[in-house]
């Protein structure tokens, strides 16, 4: 493994700051997008499941006739 060649590559021949800045920020932004998308999906799902459970519990507790009375 030629360390010199590796260092040459890693520093991008003096342009290292720019190249790695560009790639680094791109990586961060794209990861953020993906993570945000997935987190939004899973928290939405949890929220909907919770809603569903609440509704199920509600309709189990309240007898049918009283529910009808409430709706009018």
């Amino acid at each position: 493994m030629d360390v010199d060649a590796f260092i040459q590559w890693a520093t991008m021949g003096q342009h290292g700051f720019y190249v790695w800045l560009a790639y680094g920020v791109s990586l961060v932004v794209l990861l953020l997008v993906i993570v945000q998308t997935r987190m939004e999906a899973s928290s939405l799902r949890k929220e909907l499941e919770l809603e569903m459970q609440l509704k199920a519990r509600e309709s189990a507790l309240v007898p049918a006739t009283a529910r009808e009375g409430q709706q009018s």
Binding site: W9, M12, G13, Q14, H15, G16, Y18, V19, L21, A22, Y23, V25, S26, V29, L30, L32, V33, I34, T37, R38, M39, E40, A41, S42, L44, R45, K46, L48, E49, E51, M52
Partner: protein
Amino acid sequence: MGVLKRLWHRLGSPRWFFHMMAPWQWWLGMLSALLLLTGTFWGLVYAPADYQQGESFRIIYVHVPTVIVAQSVYMALGVAGFVLLVWRMKLADVALKAIVPFGMALTALGLFTGAVWGRPTWGTYWEWTDARLISTLILLFLYFGLYALRESISSAEAAGRACAILAIVGLVNIPVIKYSVEWWTTLHQGETITLTRIRMPPEMYIPLLINLLGMYCLFGYVLIARMRSEILRRERDTTWVGAWLRGEEEGAGTDNSNGKGALHGR
């Protein structure tokens, strides 16, 4: 022709889209990761440095795919807006809302990577007289405007249609971005890539194409994923959503709600 017609009718149903596109979401996500990793690695390590620009040339492999897809996203918005206004298709509004943040992020990233590339290459981060830079900045502002407009109108349906109009009106900016390089020459050189002629050697343009394809796949993944979330939000009170949550609908499989798997391939 009949296939297209059937597809068009099916697109009227958010529920159909939600279930049908689930596997696509997974596959596009995987594909985009694969392509972007390959293209990036190739571009960073194996592609030759440019004769004039040296190693900073490698930034092209993130910059160009980003800006190309950012413009494609806006064109998709224009199409979605048109479909929404003319055919009142619900999914068009879903797409219109879901993809704006992604387009915004890509455009901003494109401007940033371009600035970072510009400094070592042409000596400046930014040039107010470069038409392509300015029209891409305008694109970013158009995305801000779309976001602000949607937030400012309380009726969801009216907000969608207002955004559709703004999206369509803003479409004039896209040809300006594309052709400004031909009309005025400041920083950006003339096109090195057209559909018919590529002036770069293969060792350079193949990783570029791979990353471009990967970026488009990412666009597809994000679009589908966010549209499906938006569909769930809008249809939360329907029976089909309830059934899906309970794991009863087709393509549901077992109900595992660990965060990693949620909505990712179901």
